[in-house]
């Protein structure tokens, strides 16, 4: 074969099958359904049409249920890991993302209709966001916990504890930076997450699953579902084994419905927060939203004659 024919011969394109990320594995939707994901360019976006990108899995409520089972199973190990270890793993996620930056720039540009350079800014900010939260894992306890002064021979200590399994509805518009900004604070504090990706642009989220799978993050800590947000979120909001829900990606009507469903087992609900610019420093609110304060009274030991055992 001469060099010339090799150049002209067309190569078969390799299409990627985007899959869910549940329990550390990459299943298709239990229902077998998919839906078409298209690009968002300003003109095509206005017309409601874009170029076909991929078929994403259209998750059903059973996928949601399986994801909750996986998240619950992972919770013990993840919440029991040291904060330092969680920080290392989150930093590892940033490292892995850095290596696959080009892919994410490409996907974000398609998903959000941005130029390559603007998409690159978004991806850089998302990677920095992982690093930022990685640093917080072993510091948040000092900020929101501590020793309380009490009038008695006790230590009184408040320490923040993760809530449990958190359902996260990822922001609809910011498909990657917004996504990272809602997942990272949830898992940084030791919760496990069931994430419902942006309905129109789920591909960066599904690719993030591949990054998480190769980042020492135990399977089940983050579970990513794509599909119709309302369809997946409704059973999740009513699920008795979900402890909290972040409604970032729900519109007003859906948010209200979900909040009512979530009241049944007293889920913690984070209402949709208006975010104009996801690249601003987020503060610690998203972390504290899914922390519970455990307060323990600890005797100091028998008291000596002086009124103190020391």
């Amino acid at each position: 074969m001469s060099e010339k024919t090799e150049k002209t011969e067309p190569r078969l394109s390799v299409f990627k099958t985007y899959k869910l990320y549940v329990g550390g594995k990459f299943p298709r939707s239990e229902s077998g359904r998919v839906y078409e994901v298209t690009t968002k360019t300003s003109a095509a976006g206005a017309a409601g049409k874009g170029n076909w990108l991929a078929n994403a899995p259209l998750s059903s409520r059973k996928d949601a249920r399986d994801a909750v089972v996986a998240a619950r199973k992972a919770f013990g190990g993840w919440s029991g890991a040291t904060a330092y270890n969680r920080g290392q793993i989150l930093y590892r996620v940033a490292e892995m993302l850095e290596g696959r930056k080009a892919q994410f720039v490409h996907e974000v540009a398609d998903a959000e209709g941005l130029s390559k350079s603007k998409a690159a800014v978004q991806v850089d900010a998302a990677i920095d966001r992982w690093v930022w939260y990685a640093g917080w894992t072993d510091k948040i306890a000092q900020v929101v916990g501590g020793g309380n002064p009490v009038a008695g021979p006790y230590f009184n200590l408040s320490s923040p504890e993760p809530t449990g399994v958190v359902t996260v509805l990822a922001p609809q518009e910011s498909s990657f930076l917004g996504l990272v900004s809602v997942i990272a604070p949830v898992i940084a504090t030791g919760n496990t997450a069931v994430v419902v990706a942006s309905e129109k642009s789920p591909l960066p989220a599904l690719s993030l699953g591949e990054v998480l799978a190769t980042s020492d993050l135990p399977g089940g800590v983050v579970n990513i579902l794509s599909g119709r947000t309302a369809e997946i979120a409704t059973p999740l909001a009513a699920h008795q084994d979900v402890n909290a829900i972040d409604l970032a990606g729900a519109d007003d009507v859906l948010a209200k419905e979900l909040e009512i469903a979530a009241a049944d087992n007293l889920k913690r609900v984070l209402r949709p927060q208006p975010v104009d610019n996801w690249s601003e420093t987020p503060g610690i609110d998203r972390m504290t939203a899914f922390l519970e304060t455990k307060t323990v009274w600890h005797p100091t030991g028998s008291l000596g004659a002086s009124g103190s055992s020391y």
Binding site: R65, V68, R72, P235, A238, H239, Q240, D241, V242, A261, D264
Partner: protein
């Protein structure tokens, strides 16, 4: 593809294991059915058991797998869940069993879901002989039976006198059912008569006060042919129930070995008119699994066995999953392990 074939050839695959018809009449002796002569001596027993048709392993597994694909939904599912709950032998067989744990188990057996009193009670609680009295007190006044494992469970490696004493103790303490283990060593060595005599002796000790379940420990019998032989041996010896496993070894109840045993009880009734129950035990953890077993029962032996007098599940964690599924059907939202007991 293969499931279609499995259905087409189902009749061939599940060929009745008709034993050679009896040739001699015999009067007296314990069993009073048509096959009593085969137990006359070690050699007739061996000839009979080895004369049973060999098991088509591939066909058996394909049949079990294809029956596991049925979709059971809505009202059928609700019926299946309630039926399965009523068939559970709620089991605790740990060295660390305390009277408190057994009492808690008894309370759970009587009212599996305290928040919903329409939930049926389970069939029985299954405990070690020394816990029978505690269990009996815990389920007093309810329909729940007390089953006790006996005969040096789970290994069955003890002299016959010890085994019988074990059984007697359990019955004296009030056990309604005895789960005995066969001597797998003797069975695998081909001493069928020894195994037979043991079961007969235990059955005699049980008398009319307790039903006898015979555990084969199918995971240790190593072949389907052996499971078929053990099933027939147990039934010939007068077992009221044949049970797959102790739950103490790696391989427990599987759809295939349960299907095989169901075929054995079906054919045994066809030949002798005696109905024998089946109890798969161990490894059945989810509602989905339990429903698959119920489908096997319905398709193999029919509705006569769809009752907790003739079919049981030996399980502990299965009940929680059944209850969670039941809550899901009742409320429409998924339940979680926080809403059932930890045991």
């Amino acid at each position: 593809m293969y499931s279609r074939y499995a259905r087409r050839y189902a009749r061939l695959v599940t060929m009745p294991t008709n034993a050679p018809s009896p040739t001699a009449e015999r009067v007296g002796g314990t069993p009073t059915h048509a096959l009593q002569d085969v137990t006359a001596s070690d050699s007739t027993l061996r000839r009979f058991l080895h004369g049973l048709p060999g098991v088509d392993a591939v066909g058996l597994e394909a049949r079990a797998a294809s029956l596991g694909t049925r979709s059971i939904k809505t009202t059928a599912k609700a019926y299946a869940i309630d039926l399965a709950i009523s068939m559970v032998d709620l089991t605790t067989l740990e060295g660390a069993d305390t009277p408190g744990k057994v009492r808690a188990l008894g309370a759970k057996a009587v009212h599996p879901d305290p928040t919903d009193r329409t939930t049926p009670a389970t069939a029985a609680v299954c405990v070690y002989p020394d816990m029978v009295a505690t269990a009996k007190a815990a389920v007093a006044g309810s329909s729940v039976k007390v089953a006790s494992v006996a005969t040096a469970f789970p290994a069955g490696r003890a002299p016959i006198a010890v085994k019988l004493a074990d059984v007697r103790e359990a019955i004296d303490a009030g056990a309604d059912e005895i789960d005995m283990v066969i001597d797998r060593g003797a069975f695998l060595a081909g001493h069928y008569a020894k195994v037979y005599e043991e079961i007969v002796a235990v059955k005699e000790t049980c008398g009319t006060s307790a039903r006898l379940k015979v555990i084969f420990e199918t995971g240790e019998l190593s072949t389907y042919d052996n499971i078929r032989r053990a099933s027939w041996l147990g039934m010939l010896a007068g077992a009221d129930f044949i049970k797959t496993s102790t739950g103490k070894v790696a391989v427990n109840a599987t759809p295939a070995n349960t299907l095989l045993m169901l075929e054995a009880v079906r054919d045994f009734r066809a030949q002798t008119g005696v109905q024998v129950g089946v109890k798969p035990a161990g490894g059945i953890r989810t509602t989905k699994d339990a429903v698959k077993f119920l489908v096997l029962v319905n398709e193999t032996v029919g509705e006569d066995w769809l009752d907790n007098h003739w079919f049981r599940f030996g399980a502990s964690s299965l009940l929680n999953d059944l209850l969670m599924q039941r809550q899901k059907l009742a409320t429409g939202r998924y339940s979680g392990p926080d809403y059932v007991t930890v045991d």
